[in-house]
Symmetry: C2
Subunit: 78 residues, 2 copies
């Protein structure tokens, strides 16, 4: 089983969108773990060692993908 | 079926990594389409209308995720 780790920091605006990505990953191919680095600061060193420079980031088998959804302006209007 | 569209521009260094993301998407949940905007320039307007500002970008049910893998320095050493 491949490993997918989704690192985030709990940003309330983006959380729904970030969850979309984690849910879209094929769970038959990847064991998906979601790590909130704001709450699990003991895992920041591990994320840094993997090459994570910013959150949200998706680690697929050791390859880092920095995902920039940003905040939808529509969400900010709510 | 939900729709996932992966827009890219054929960057040779990043293509393998980009493909990883497309392959990681759960094809049981999403109909995945990969669009090379360099070759299919007639679809740039559609991508722009969806909010795509840069490639590679993943559109999940209309939500844009700009993915920045960048070029691995290891790949540049090859």
């Amino acid at each position: 089983m491949n490993i997918a780790i989704f690192y985030h920091a709990g940003c309330p605006v983006c959380l729904g969108a970030e969850q979309m990505v984690a849910d879209a990953i094929d769970h038959a191919k990847y064991a998906v773990e979601v790590v909130h680095l704001g709450e699990q600061s003991d895992r920041i060193a591990e994320a840094e060692a993997a090459g994570v420079l910013s959150v949200p980031a998706l680690l697929l088998d050791g390859h880092v993908f920095h995902i920039n959804f940003g905040a939808s302006l529509d969400d900010l209007k709510k």
